[in-house]
């Protein structure tokens, strides 16, 4: 019998697991896929929003502002790439200026620090590549960018090091109330827990419905993106938004912590988790982005992707009891990444208030470190290679990722089991050649270290096979 079972290991589930791992509790996280951070968490704008957007008084407003405050120290302690670059919302006409003023007022009400309304010229002074058509801007210095999947991994890894059990490839098929808790049926067998926390993203409604009728509806909304080469990485220094509209916060242009430029998203309703991109969607994103920053070179694109956000019809996060002992963390769309640690904190508060004994551990690990060869100074690189020769073998040329870093990830608390799993942990394959060169080498390393045939190595989730069969061979 677990004290708590968390369903789903995206950023919300991971943050909740991390918070719970502070206490003397038996906690498990069940994740349907073969890795963490594989849904909405890996495919979004990677922004930690300042918090001027949500309506004052909403959960979104409170948890966003609290979340980004927590993120500042959390990302440092857990070695998560984080850059406090600030953001700007642009107005292209006098008609749009009231929007900025409204956001300014909301920001003040939400307690967002440092907000300032700028003229077009003041905005261009900070961001010289902005369009001449910009007439005013709202500047929010407290916005930041981060690596969302590494954020999730760091939280999940630290939770695991603190004793949380992570069960991957374990999908929930049923929820039944039992005496003193819940029976959780999974495709790997039965589990029991006093409390169940649903952090199932787009599938929160389905999980809820396993236990009780669901009062809200999740409308999956897809957003498509471009990721551009590092040659475009300093096109802007801040996250550049347009005035929000009914379709969300609008298309942004932003630097990434990895040195690239990200452009997107649009917003369109989809069925389930349809993360395909479309010619029309991408064209829309491109056109909108060029309105903000006309000089973006889209021929430097290295990848398109799409993510699906779980938007609840309540207009806010749904953080509430679905049934006694079953807590919903649902409708975690934007600003979910920003709010994540605060959502975790709030979830634990609710569990505690309901009677879960929160007794702090004497030894709680709240640090994490991973080797980043590329960022080390020359002397440290030399010493590292001296100590461990695997750090001398560069596997990914574009991002300068060494075999040593991949081996380190494989020895970590949540080892990767796919080529993309390696990518999410050490950046191999994230660069301009998109794994063209390092792909076969990563397959070779995974095959060797996991003791499986190259034919069994997958690209990403189960079923994403890479190699069909051996060649005909010949005389050996």
């Amino acid at each position: 019998m677990y004290d708590v079972i968390i369903i789903g290991c995206g950023i919300t589930g991971a943050a909740t697991a991390f918070e719970l791992s502070r206490y003397r509790l038996k906690v498990a996280v069940v994740e349907r896929e073969n890795d963490v951070a594989i849904g909405t968490t890996k495919a979004n704008s990677a922004i930690l929003h300042a918090g001027y957007d949500p309506m004052p008084g909403s959960l979104m407003a409170r948890l966003n502002v609290r979340g980004v405050e927590l993120a500042r120290t959390l990302c440092e302690k857990l070695d998560v790439p984080y850059v406090p670059c600030g953001s700007m919302v642009l107005a292209f006409s006098q008609q749009e200026k009231p929007h900025l003023e409204e956001l300014y007022r909301r920001g003040q009400a939400n307690g967002v620090p440092g907000l300032a309304l700028l003229t077009g010229d003041e905005a261009r002074e900070l961001e010289p590549n902005l369009s001449d058509a910009v007439v005013a801007a709202l500047h929010a210095p407290s916005a930041a960018i981060c690596s969302p999947w590494e954020y999730c991994l760091a939280l999940a890894e630290t939770a695991v090091r603190n004793g949380v059990q992570l069960h991957r490839n374990t999908g929930v098929t049923g929820l039944s109330p039992v005496d003193g808790g819940w029976l959780v049926n999974t495709d790997k067998g039965q589990m029991w827990a006093r409390y169940v926390v649903s952090a199932a993203g787009v599938d929160c409604q389905q999980i809820h419905e396993l236990a009780a009728p669901c009062p809200y509806t999740i409308h999956p909304a897809r957003g498509q993106y471009y990721l551009l080469d590092k040659s475009e990485g300093d096109r802007v220094g801040r996250v550049i938004f347009q005035c929000p509209n009914d379709l969300g916060k609008g298309v942004l242009v932003a630097p990434t912590v990895h040195g690239n430029l990200i452009v997107g998203p649009n917003s369109e309703p989809v069925e389930g988790e349809d993360t395909s991109t479309t010619a029309a969607g991408l064209a829309f994103v491109r056109d909108k982005a060029l309105k903000s920053v006309p000089s973006v070179q889209f021929n430097q694109s290295i990848r398109n992707f799409a993510g699906v956000r779980a938007v609840a019809d309540t207009g806010d996060f749904v953080i509430d009891w679905a049934a006694p002992g079953l807590l919903d963390l649902a409708g975690i769309c934007s600003p979910g990444l920003s709010a994540a640690p605060a959502i975790g904190e709030y979830a634990v508060e609710l569990l505690g208030a309901d009677g879960l004994a929160l007794e702090e551990k004497e030894q709680f690990i709240c640090e994490r470190h991973r080797t980043r060869f590329k960022q080390l100074p020359q002397a440290e690189r030399a010493a590292l290679v001296e100590r461990q020769t695997a750090f001398g073998r560069v596997i990914c040329r574009c991002e300068t990722v060494t075999e040593g870093e991949i081996l380190e990830a494989l020895a970590g608390p949540i080892p990767p089991c796919s080529v993309d799993g390696v990518k999410r942990r050490v950046n191999a394959g994230m660069g301009r050649c998109q794994g063209g060169f390092c792909g076969p080498r990563v397959v070779e390393i995974l095959s060797r270290e996991l003791g499986i045939s190259p034919g069994e190595v997958v690209q990403d989730q189960a079923g994403t096979w890479l190699l069909a069969r051996e060649t005909k061979g010949g005389d050996k």
């Binding site: 290295i302 290679v385 020769t389 001398g392 300068t400 075999e403 998109q434 397959v443 069909a468």
Partner: protein, 419 residues
């Protein structure tokens, strides 16, 4: 201190090092990131290499093997499994290797011979799902020819570049079904002999003026949608064809790998995506040379070899002469029909007897003239029966003609008769 450090041990690096040795340099280092010399030739097990240079037909590994043997007769030092991380303008080379450790070496001259990489799905923005099963043709070639694994069974190939054509045949010979080769342009980007030997001979249809407009399948590619495109390369609605397949190979262009070059501060040419070079393959940084596919993408390795020998010989001369004063420089301009030239600059005083000029055209032409002009004066004219963007052209300009030119020369195409 080395007289010369060659970055890259593929065909360009090998030829440059051999030529520099012949030119008298005795302290030469080749740095190669792979575990053996030969570069991409090692995975090109098909034949057709060496027709120009050796006057015989060799496979890729055989072609590389000849130069590796030549190299073994010299005292050129080789560091394998070693990656160059940085080249500085004052010719320091930072490198790291599993057995060689982290080292910084100083060189009197440098030859950049890093080759090129393939354009990817992201660069051309194919919409659809993102399942496994979309490979660049070169990555697929590595799996098949080096690792011994087939990346799929039912294949569509986008792009009619040479690697894609070669892989159409290779996958077929290994028992895969290649359903189509799809090319967005109205003409193929590959060599004509490869169209015939790799597609026609195996009844693989080539769809010109078509492109992939959708990829379907959640985990692995299940279908690829191909549409016809108009003159502006926009897909024409209603022309969709759906192919049931598990693999899409991309052969949609090569990009010189110039991260080190840019970092060093070398002046680049946006047309070639390589360094701007002089007649002897010297870049804007004295003593730093570039050759092979890192300078501009070649169709034939034989031409890589010839160009790299010039670079290696020039590096040897540079070290021997300790660099000399700047001289008169001719800019080479692209006229009508010409997309780029290499070299981009010529110093006539450095040209002994003649200077080879390489270029590509922007369209297929029938009977044509290649015109070289300087101001209003025509200084040379060459006839060709056929010109195509997929086939690199070259002309040879004698020194005496270059002496006639003023500050610049322009290369242009005049079609005598429509193709």
């Amino acid at each position: 201190m080395y007289d010369l450090i060659v970055i890259g041990g593929g065909p360009a690096g090998l030829a440059a090092a051999c030529a520099a040795w012949e030119g008298g340099l005795r302290s030469i280092l080749i740095v190669e990131r792979d575990q053996e010399l030969g570069g991409i030739l090692n995975q090109c097990i098909h034949n057709g290499f060496g027709l120009h240079y050796f006057k015989e037909e060799l496979t890729g590994p055989e072609y590389a093997g000849r130069f590796i043997r030549m190299l073994s007769d010299t005292g050129v030092e080789v560091r394998l499994d070693t990656m160059v991380l940085e080249v500085t303008a004052d010719r320091q080379v930072h490198m790291v290797g599993k057995t060689t450790g982290y080292r910084v070496e100083q060189a009197r001259s440098i030859v950049l011979a890093m080759g090129c990489r393939e354009r990817t799905r992201g660069a051309i923005g194919i919409p659809g799902t993102r399942p496994a099963g979309v490979f660049t043709a070169g990555a697929a070639q590595r799996y098949v020819n080096m690792e011994g694994w087939m990346p799929g069974n039912r294949v569509v190939i986008l792009g009619s570049g040479d690697i894609g054509l070669i892989m159409a045949r290779r996958m077929t010979l290994e028992g895969a079904k290649v359903l189509a080769c799809v090319e967005v342009m109205p003409y193929s980007g590959g060599l004509n002999r490869n169209i015939v030997q790799c597609l026609h001979d195996y009844d693989i249809p080539l769809y010109l003026s078509h492109t992939v407009t959708d990829i379907r399948g959640k985990d692995r590619v299940e279908q690829v949608v191909v549409s016809q495109v108009d003159e502006r390369r926009n897909p024409i609605p209603g022309t969709e064809m759906v192919f049931d397949c598990d693999t899409l190979l991309l052969s949609v262009g090569l990009i010189p790998e110039n991260e080190l070059t840019r970092q060093a501060g070398v002046e680049m040419d946006r047309r070639t995506n390589g360094a701007v070079v002089y007649e002897n393959m010297e870049t804007s940084i004295p003593g730093v040379f570039a050759c092979g596919n890192v300078c501009h993408v070649h169709d034939l390795v034989d031409f890589v070899t010839a160009e790299s020998q010039r670079a290696g010989a020039a590096a040897a001369r540079y070290v021997a002469q300790n660099g000399d004063a700047p001289q008169r420089v001719l800019q080479v301009r692209n006229g009508d029909g010409v997309t780029y030239t290499v070299p981009q600059r010529i110093r006539p005083d450095r040209v002994e007897k003649r200077c080879d000029l390489f270029f590509r055209v922007n369209r297929i032409c029938g009977d044509s003239e290649i015109l070289v002009t300087s101001g209003d004066t025509q200084i040379a004219r060459f006839k060709r029966e056929h010109l195509a963007p997929g086939e690199m052209e070259n002309i040879t300009l004698p020194r005496v003609l270059l002496d006639k030119a003023r500050d610049e020369i322009t290369v242009s195409i005049r079609e005598v008769e429509q193709a």
